[in-house]
Amino acid sequence: SKLFSGSQVQFAAPPNSLVSFFDASLPGTLPVLNRRCVEAAVMTGLALNCSINKKSLFDRKHYFYADLPAGYQITQQRVPIAVNGSLSYSLCIDNKMSQMVTKTVRIKQIQLEQDSGKSLHDDVRSQTLVDLNRAGVGLMEVVMEPDMCCGEEAAAAVRELQLILQTLGSSQAVMAEGQLRVDANVSVHHPGEPYGVRTEVKNINSIRFLAKAVDYEIERQIEELESGGTILNETRAFDSKLGCTVPMRDKEGKQDYRFMPEPNLPPLILYNARSLPANMNHQQVVNIDWIHERLPDLPSVKRAKLVEQYGILPEHSFTLLNEAGLTEFFEDVIKQTQMKPKKVIGWILNDLLSYLKQHSLTVKESPVSSFLLADLLNRLEKKEISSTAAKQVFAELWKGEGKTPLEIVKEKKLQLIQDQEDLERICQAVIDGQENEVMAIKSGNRKVLNKLIGLVQRETQGRSNPVLVKQLLEKKLSE
């Protein structure tokens, strides 16, 4: 529910259907702090290596706007709940997945505050429609220090933050639904000089747009300065259609927010195991240590575990975590197959994932289940089919017609020839029919062997194991 009231929080509910008396700022109503929000903030603070302030305070930030019913927002300006943390994230150098570098951005603070409602401007009828469903929803504002240098870094950092929040469960962090909102503060300066004037860029609706917006703004500022202009400390909006930032209609102006302590909320006191008084009912308090003990594995830990456990590459672990449900799918397949994880990962990332992307499907929506894929991979392992054949089977499975790999193999006659004698006979036949090539091979041109292997493949309609064929040919040619 909301930060200071019991109203539900729900995306796209009918306008003004989730508004309590307090949210509507009816006179005489008072805020009551929501414990879950506090716990979420503590979890997030711990996950970002912050110091959790055992005492934090609430303040009123005043400004007049139609979607702020009380005429002030309750926030934490003087002492926020968590400070001085860090977030590590990884980037690929030069777009090559194989070269990843780890960077860190410092977290200045995390503060709890109220969201405002939404106003929709109807210019046609000269009116503003106000929906207070969102008014009072709890927000965690995570403030990062200006340690990032470009759109890519910003995007990677925010992506990692998103994964962390989703892992913790403290937010679903879906940007499209406004659950994660990003404002980018951008400035430029020459190396060695102090930071330049910054602009704030709002209205960024996806991680991709974040990178674009940041890069555009950097360009714009450089151009402006190099042509002798100055940068205004202003708020700009990102226009996703045009791919640029524009000055925003001055919503608040240079305002004095007249911060004042929120008198209706006592200081927020958090405890740890040491400071917790003996007689305190643990239902009534938030214990930092208790929360710390119950933190789930963060993405970075999960990735490291995947690499260690399965011997996959670090960049593989990134891709696995980046796709909702993919890690689980991968691990399910591992459980059901003898194929080594190092080989399975190829199928997951190159085959399954690319098919999903092509058809814009999520892992959950995959027509190929982990069971089916594992079955297919087992047959490949047992050399019942060649890897080319396996790809064909996979394509068939993708149609989602309910056939098993075995059925598809039989139907398309993809089984590898198991009879060695049969294979030897075919090899011999090919050798007999390719005198020139045989002579070339015998005189040292090993590459020509591939042609012979190819011919055998053709003869067997792809149902021969190329490794075995090569062995047999070599044996025969050396006789």
Partner: protein, 528 residues
């Protein structure tokens, strides 16, 4: 009957000697005949009678909800009452019908109390006269008492005898007048700088300001969140204790209420005051204190001394800074609390619709009186970034010093402080309005404010009549959450002084014959 303490009438209800509906009717008709007092903004006749009927049914079944069942009460119009208009005596909330009951209102209703109506006040509780609301000023019932009329010398024959009526004090003047004129047995007020105790003193009733955090403020439209408390106005100390018992306790909807379990208490009769230590703060001999009240204060101190109590002079050295400190903190909070009145969600909305900003500006200009607007402007000034440190922070520091004064004094063995409540008796309205609200508030709050700064409990006990035949009260200030001790001492004092009952012709007419005990309001039949 109407003049009696509620506990007594409660016995009468229980024994069937009087019915709740009859009691309610009498109060309602007395309200009508005392309409000139302008104590009530809204009289909720229909709902009150219904509540009385329900109460009657319960009594007939022998299952009353408690001592307050069937007892007519009034509530200051800055408390939210579901279905009944809540205006705060302001244009901003004229016609505003709240969808919920304030916690204290709900508690009284849950006890079976009969809500007669909402009482008049200074607009948004800003003022010390109950003269600055949009429904006009409240008149002190004592203006029409035989005691006052006998003492007042008409200036000329042609003078309208109505024109020298005196104020009730404020800002809970309506509630004080309602209790004082017998239209109800108890009333809720609010107290931020003295708004319950001040009118209680001028109207000759008991006015209790509880410790901050003891009673829920949920539903009380705030003036200064860090100082406001619901106040209790009754005709005797015992009644105040009963009402306190039904209201006090933690409210999850108000995060500033303490968690400890509150145990309602019955006041015992103090017989031995020798173990008591009464402090007389010398700084409360404030400039402008009338010689009459000074004498009364001194007499009261002697009363305790002669009864064996230890009476010592103490010092609260930061008292003289409390006015300015209060002014800064109060206006700052007011500016903040009033920000929600923008005409969008509820209340008055101006017809001006050129832009949102112009609508806000017009709405707030039309909705608020000068007093409110003045405080908002001051408050915003003090909260500006460049001023915050010098004004707001400084005032908070001074506030702590003021609070510490009390801590030191109470820590040195003093149990209760005895001070005057007001500088003089009630002055005529015509004289009162010669100065502006701000000046008046600054003058009148000096003796009551500090208790709000420190969050301490305090009570006005009517003590004697002035030379002009008007009530004068004295104030007791106690330790945090020690209401029991405070009220016990207050009750003892009340018994000693035997404050006279108001002699109002209107009331007499109503209660003809039934009105027996004229002498004192502080008796309880089963005790004599």
């Amino acid at each position: 009957l109407l003049g009696r303490a509620s506990l007594l009438v409660s016995a009468a209800l229980k024994e069937g000697r009087v019915a709740p509906t009859e009691l309610c009717q009498r109060c309602l008709s007395l309200i009508k005949s005392t309409k000139f007092l302008n104590a009530y903004i809204t009289v909720a006749e229909e709902t009150a009678l219904k509540q009385a009927e329900e109460s009657e049914k319960r009594y007939k079944r022998g299952q009353p909800l408690g001592v307050l069942d069937g007892i007519p009460i009034a509530v200051k119009d800055n408390f939210n009452t579901a279905g009944i208009e809540t205006t705060c005596a302001s244009n901003m909330l004229k016609g505003y019908i709240s969808p919920y009951n304030a916690t204290v209102v709900q508690k009284l209703l849950d006890q079976g109390a009969v809500l007669l109506g909402k009482t008049n006040l200074d607009e948004f509780a800003m003022g010390s006269g109950s003269t600055d609301g949009v429904f006009g000023p409240v008149r002190n019932p004592w203006s029409y008492s035989r005691q006052y009329k006998e003492k007042s010398v008409p200036k000329s024959h042609s003078e309208d005898k109505d024109s020298n009526w005196v104020i009730t004090g404020g800002s809970s003047g309506g509630s004080a007048a309602a209790v004082s004129s017998f239209t109800c047995f108890a009333a809720l007020g609010s107290d931020t700088g003295g708004s319950t105790r001040n009118p209680a003193a001028h109207c000759g009733v008991v006015g209790l300001k509880p410790t901050y955090g003891l009673i829920s403020r949920h539903g009380l439209i705030p003036l200064v969140n860090s100082m406001d408390v619901p106040g209790i106005l009754t005709r005797c100390v015992d009644d105040a204790a009963v009402v306190l018992g039904s209201l006090a306790g933690h409210d999850p909807k108000d995060s500033t209420t303490i968690q400890d379990n509150f145990k309602p208490f019955e006041l015992s009769d103090l017989t031995d005051v020798s173990k008591l230590s009464i402090g007389i703060p010398k700084e409360y001999h404030a400039p402008g204190l009338s010689s009459e009240i000074l004498a009364l204060w001194s007499k009261a101190a002697d009363l305790f001394k002669n009864a064996g109590a230890k009476v010592i002079e103490v010092s609260l050295p930061h008292t003289r800074y409390s006015i300015v400190c209060y002014h800064v903190l109060c206006t700052a909070e007011v500016a903040s609390n009033m920000a929600r009145f923008d005409g969008l969600e509820y209340g008055h909305r101006s017809d001006m619709n050129k832009s949102t900003e112009s609508m806000y500006a017009a709405t707030r200009r039309e909705g608020f009186n000068d007093v409110v607007r003045g405080r908002i402007l001051s408050g915003n000034y003090f909260l500006l970034k460049q001023n915050y440190e010098n004004y707001f922070i400084k005032a908070q520091k001074v506030r702590r010093l003021i609070a510490n004064d009390f801590v030191k004094v109470f820590g040195s063995g003093v149990d209760i402080l005895l001070t005057p409540t007001t500088l003089s008796d009630a002055i005529p309205y015509m004289e009162f309005i010669k100065e502006d609200n701000r000046t008046r508030s600054a003058q009148d709050d000096i003796l009551t404010q500090a208790a709000n700064m420190a969050g301490l409990p305090a009570i006005n006990v009517p003590t004697a009549l002035s030379e002009r035949g008007l009530p004068v009260g004295l104030q007791f200030i106690g330790r945090s959450f020690q209401e029991k001790q405070l009220l016990t001492v207050a009750k003892w004092f009340e018994k000693q002084v035997k404050f006279p009952m108001i002699q109002l012709d209107e009331v007499k007419r109503h209660d003809h014959g039934v009105f027996q005990h004229q002498k004192s309001a502080s008796f309880l039949e089963h005790r004599t």
